[in-house]
């Protein structure tokens, strides 16, 4: 027992001298023979390497080109089989010596490395693959990164095991996410929350073809709509649901996905007008929403006139029922549509003429607009 620390320090000290010398020699190999391998590995956002495993043959030359495509610094460190966590922890233990050593502990457990690269930098190294077949882990040993940011170099003449069952790569990269089936219009996957999915369901998220402050609502009857809280208006509606998985999982660069068939896309701009049908309000302001039986009742103002709007699905087919409350209008209220948008409009009060509904201020206190897709077609 008492020898263990001694033995360890001997191993580390004695072998490291030897090893660093060797490493220099192999790094200067320039002639690339047949069977040699060049691998371009990119550090990408989400603390991961884009390539999580590759195979080389024993005793062949390996060229690693490391690119840092992330917005923080990373290195690349190849270790002895099974020693990734030891090296990662040793790097963490370097403390203030870490930055100077590129966070690479000087131990024989490290076989080769690319020093710390700042974002957008690139560097290559060449080394000889070990003679002994095995799985040689690599990791970024920047403090803490290597617990999740790693991969495996297989030194083998055979093929690698199936990706799905490979314990040597980060677990989230070992499973291929089953793509949601598009045949159904409701999400077949289990709830992503610690409670069951219950419709209607609202998310504020990044949606395609809308402003960055969007709200998506999944309704009963397999319908969903995207409401833009910046522009204070309905942007589009579809038969189907929203898939936030990639937006949540990554750094947010990937936005939420519309799954299903879009049957309405607004082309008329902000629909409400006051006083004249042709004059769009100058300023809209989002004020929030109240949840009533899980439906959001949006609250916003247009040129100072307060509006409340609740959107539900039509009982059958593709379409929406939009309930408005406008109490402060001092002049007639107009609701403008675009006759080319594929929808049939009807109103609880007043009538649409040439795609425009005109209401007296009193009629605007409470009115419902039903919009139904003329036929269930994909836009």
């Amino acid at each position: 027992m008492l020898f263990l620390p001694l033995l360890l320090s001997w191993l580390l000290n004695y072998h490291s001298t030897d090893f660093w010398h060797q490493q220099k020699v192999s790094a200067s190999l320039s002639d690339v023979a047949a069977g040699d391998t060049t691998i371009i590995i990119t550090a990408i956002s989400g603390l991961q390497f884009d390539i999580v495993r590759f195979a080389v043959k024993p005793n062949t030359n390996v060229k690693i080109i490391l690119e840092n495509g992330d917005d923080m610094a990373h290195n690349w460190v190849l270790t002895q089989p099974g020693k990734r966590l030891d090296v990662v922890n040793a790097a963490l233990a370097l403390g203030d010596k870490g930055p100077k050593l590129d966070y690479v502990p000087r131990t024989a457990l490290v076989l080769s490395y690319v020093p710390v690269l700042d974002p957008d930098q690139q560097k290559e190294i060449t080394f000889k693959a070990p003679a002994k077949e095995g799985v040689y882990p690599y990791a970024c040993t920047y403090p803490g990164h290597g617990f999740v940011m790693y991969g495996a170099m297989y030194v083998t003449t055979k093929s690698m095991p199936s990706l799905k069952n490979d314990p040597n790569i980060p677990p989230q990269r070992a499973v291929e996410e089953p793509a949601p089936r598009t045949a159904t219009y409701s999400d077949p996957r289990p709830s992503p929350h610690p409670y069951p999915r219950e419709l209607p369901m609202l998310y504020r998220t990044f949606m395609p073809e809308s402003g960055p402050a969007s709200i998506v609502v999944m309704l009963p009857n397999e319908q969903s709509y995207c409401w833009d809280a910046g522009a204070c208006r309905l942007r589009y509606a579809w038969r189907g649901y929203v898939d936030n998985a990639e937006h949540w999982r990554g750094n947010g660069k990937k936005i939420s996905k519309v799954v299903g068939d879009t049957y309405f896309r607004d082309q008329a701009g902000f629909p409400l007008r006051f006083g004249t049908a042709t004059q769009m309000p100058q300023q809209v302001k989002f004020k929030g929403y109240r949840i009533i039986n899980r439906y959001p009742q949006f609250w916003y103002s247009a040129d100072g006139v307060e509006v409340r709007e609740t959107i539900k699905a039509v009982p059958s087919g593709n379409g929406l029922v939009r309930e408005f409350q406008i109490h402060e209008a001092k002049s007639p209220v107009f609701f403008q549509t675009n006759s080319q948008d594929g929808m049939d409009y009807s109103a609880s009060v007043g009538e649409f003429r040439d795609g425009v509904l005109r209401l007296e201020p009193g009629q605007a206190h409470h009115f419902i607009i039903t919009m139904k897709a003329k036929k269930a077609e994909k836009l």
Binding site: G144, F147, P194, G252, K253
Partner: protein, 492 residues
């Protein structure tokens, strides 16, 4: 004892060992508890706070806001559907303010059924371009009731939407991190009357805000372009803190790309950090600063500030002071390892004086998920309690009287100093690294204060101190021996 002669021997042996090389640890003074999280929750914790009734309220990456009753070990959903909520400020048992990507929102349970039913926009009068990196942090409330929050810059690794919210200014678009819509890279003040005031500029990733006991506002930033090592700033109105991109939204700033302003000029404009966290070994990504307002319930450091850290299993303690009119000071690890995980993103004190830590490992952050709770057990560790600049060195005040034999040896205080470059590149090496000799040591009569005379004090440098072999009169070693003092101003 006659029956167990070996026991005496054992005790003696133990005593001998402990008297020479006591291995002490923070676990002997604080207990840590890992809070069980609800099943099915992605516990990337965006914020934690406490309701007046003592329940925890926390928000998570997928938009959930949940409460936790520790006595019942019960989680309940309070609100849902928010976009990356990263801040909570409790108003009452039924009402909280939440900072999410698009806005600051007042979330209220108006019918008292435990679930929020009203989401009111408190302010959305700032831009969002759709870039993934435009996080929003805060709010915190000052004594007068004004709110403060901070807006992250966008990242050049991502694009922007075809439609943005707010005025688009292409002059702010270049750069690794950018500010192409209003007030990205700013700390904002929302006064009690509802006016939103751009308060201070020059931030990159200001992930957390906090006040000290006197009401001074502190905001950290993250090492990166223009930031040599992660800083903590004392934030004051109209000050500029160094990252140029946000200057496009500064009133009176000329119509130029701020990145093209000569570095020397930017350097003159900027306010330097009150505390620098040397990258790699002190902190990589400091998070929320939090003042210990427990009046002693959480231990001997009441009134000082703590700050979280993502990349180490660590919380850091700050020892700040005013020198020549400016706040500056030192950082020292506080709770390190001992069961604490990484990813310490948010903190809040419970009414019982325990510290709750929300952890996050979202995407580019290395860290952990979930929530941990730290309680003080009433014993006081041997620590540097404060570090104060003097005319010719530093005064170190310890929590216990020092052992004079070890404390009078010059070699037991190792100083070096260095600076980090202010430049456009990502991060900075340490420059002009030099050891600094301790010339003289004086110990106060009560043994708690050690005054050190240094061979040189130079403004603009970090003074890194490492203590060796120092212990209390009772033989307790100093737990955290690495202390870094940011010296901007000399004592006049």
């Amino acid at each position: 004892m006659r029956k167990y002669p070996f026991l005496l021997l054992f005790l003696l042996a133990t005593f001998t060992i402990s008297a020479q090389t006591v291995k002490d640890s923070i676990c002997n003074y604080y207990a840590i508890e890992t809070i069980p999280m609800p099943q099915g929750l992605l516990a990337e914790t965006g914020a934690v706070d406490f309701l007046p009734d003592g329940r925890l309220i926390a928000c998570f990456h997928k938009g959930e806001v949940m409460t936790y009753d520790r006595s019942k070990k019960e989680w309940k959903l309070f609100a849902e559907g928010l976009h990356d909520p990263l801040g909570i400020l409790v108003v009452s048992n039924q009402e909280v303010l939440i900072m999410q990507r698009p806005e600051l929102t007042r979330v209220t349970d108006t019918d008292n059924d435990g679930r929020a039913d009203l989401y009111e926009t408190v302010t959305d009068q700032f831009g969002i371009s759709g870039n993934y990196h435009e996080f929003a942090f805060g709010p915190i409330k000052d004594k007068e009731g004004n709110l403060y929050f901070s807006l992250n810059l966008a990242s050049g690794l991502g694009g922007i939407f075809d439609e943005v919210r707010g005025t688009l200014d292409t002059l702010g678009r270049p750069g690794r991190m950018f500010s192409t819509v209003p007030y990205r890279g700013w700390v904002m003040k929302l006064d009690k009357q509802g006016h939103l005031i751009p308060w201070a500029s020059g931030f990159r990733s200001p992930n957390g805000l906090g006040f000290d006991l006197q009401g001074n506002l502190f905001v950290p930033d993250n090492q990166g372009d223009w930031i040599g090592t992660s800083p903590l700033y004392h934030v004051q109105k109209d000050h500029f803190y160094g990252h140029p991109s946000s200057l496009v939204w500064s009133a009176g700033f000329p119509d130029v790309n701020p990145l093209n302003v000569p570095v020397v000029d930017l350097d003159k404009m900027r306010t330097k950090a009150a505390v620098l966290f040397p990258q790699g070994f002190m902190a990589n990504s400091p998070t929320q600063p939090l003042c210990d307002t427990t009046k002693g319930k959480f231990g001997p450091f009441a009134g000082q500030m703590l700050i979280g850290e993502m990349n180490h299993p660590r919380l850091i303690r700050l020892m700040m002071e005013t020198v020549d009119g400016q706040i500056q000071g030192a950082c020292v690890p506080f709770y390190d390892s001992c069961g604490l995980r990484m990813g310490n993103n948010r903190m809040a004190f419970a009414p019982d004086g325990s510290l709750w830590i929300g952890q996050n490992d979202h995407d580019a952050w290395t860290g952990a998920e979930g929530i941990q709770r730290i309680t003080w057990n009433g014993k006081v560790p041997m620590e540097v309690y404060s570090m104060n600049l003097t005319k010719n060195g530093f005064d170190l005040t310890f929590t216990h009287p020092v052992d004079r034999k070890t404390a009078t040896q010059l070699a037991n205080y190792q100083f070096k100093r260095y600076y980090y470059e202010y430049h456009r590149a990502y991060g900075s090496d340490q420059f002009d690294v030099k050891p600094v000799d301790v010339k003289k040591i004086k110990i106060s009569r009560d043994g708690k204060k050690v005054s050190l005379n240094l061979s040189e004090l130079k403004p603009g440098y970090v003074y890194e101190m490492r203590l060796k072999n120092l212990q209390s009169t009772e033989g307790k070693p100093v737990l955290n021996t690495l202390v870094c003092y940011t010296l901007n101003k000399l004592r006049k």
